[in-house]
Symmetry: none
Subunit: 121 residues, 2 copies
Amino acid sequence: MPIEMANRVKDSIGGVGEFIRSQRALARMSLRQLADKAKVSNPYLSQIERGLYRPSAEVLKAIAEALNISAETLYARIGLVDPDREERRPSVEEAIRLDSKLTTDQKETLLSVYRNFAGSS
Amino acid sequence: MPIEMANRVKDSIGGVGEFIRSQRALARMSLRQLADKAKVSNPYLSQIERGLYRPSAEVLKAIAEALNISAETLYARIGLVDPDREERRPSVEEAIRLDSKLTTDQKETLLSVYRNFAGSS
DNA sequence: AGCAGGTGCTTGGTAGACTTAGCATCGTGA
DNA sequence: TCACGATGCTAAGTCTACCAAGCACCTGCT
């Protein structure tokens, strides 16, 4: 494990590790208990808590469930979910693309009309 | 990671890929365009779309942003967010009504076309 | 003393996420 | 005809998330 890398990573994700460790302490679980419950190895969990590695979202989710906290809380800590997503306005393009009642051709037609109306984007 | 979980996820890998590919087609972007915008290499995006690899949540988020769709949509696809917490789908009608780039007449036209499409299928 | 079992940490290795370089094919223009 | 640029894909390598085995330390029990 390269040291300069560890420092760079630590800056960005150290917060998650400390947070997990504090939550684990509050839940009065040992490292091994939490690791088993979250189905990760205990050395790996140790490394995560010390900020040496950046866990995948799946591992984060498993840890969150083992700790009985919401996965979104952890996601937010590493910027996986937008903090300002509640005030995000629905995009017409996205809404059209996701609509299950439209065929692909109909989507293309609507999108083309919409782009024509809206101008650029 | 637990085996049955891995399989469940693996089954849906292809689904994300196909979904991304179809969304890219609707957005009329080439593989390279989307790859550049999402800051991943184009061969890797190609492999994701063909279901060869399971992209990390960060890559998924970058792709979602490049496609102007919400990251939660993709997360839900691979089971990263709980199904009961699943966001409600953006409504085309609402999105059109809220769009600030359209005039009232244009909105009415679009809505009329949309209702015609959605109703008859 | 000496074991038994708990704590967290180190080491060494594997698999797969991700990259750079480059190939094959197509359409378009000179 | 011969580039040319754009398309998606293959090959081969690097990096790192993650695991199994085992170490060092502590506390309690006999």
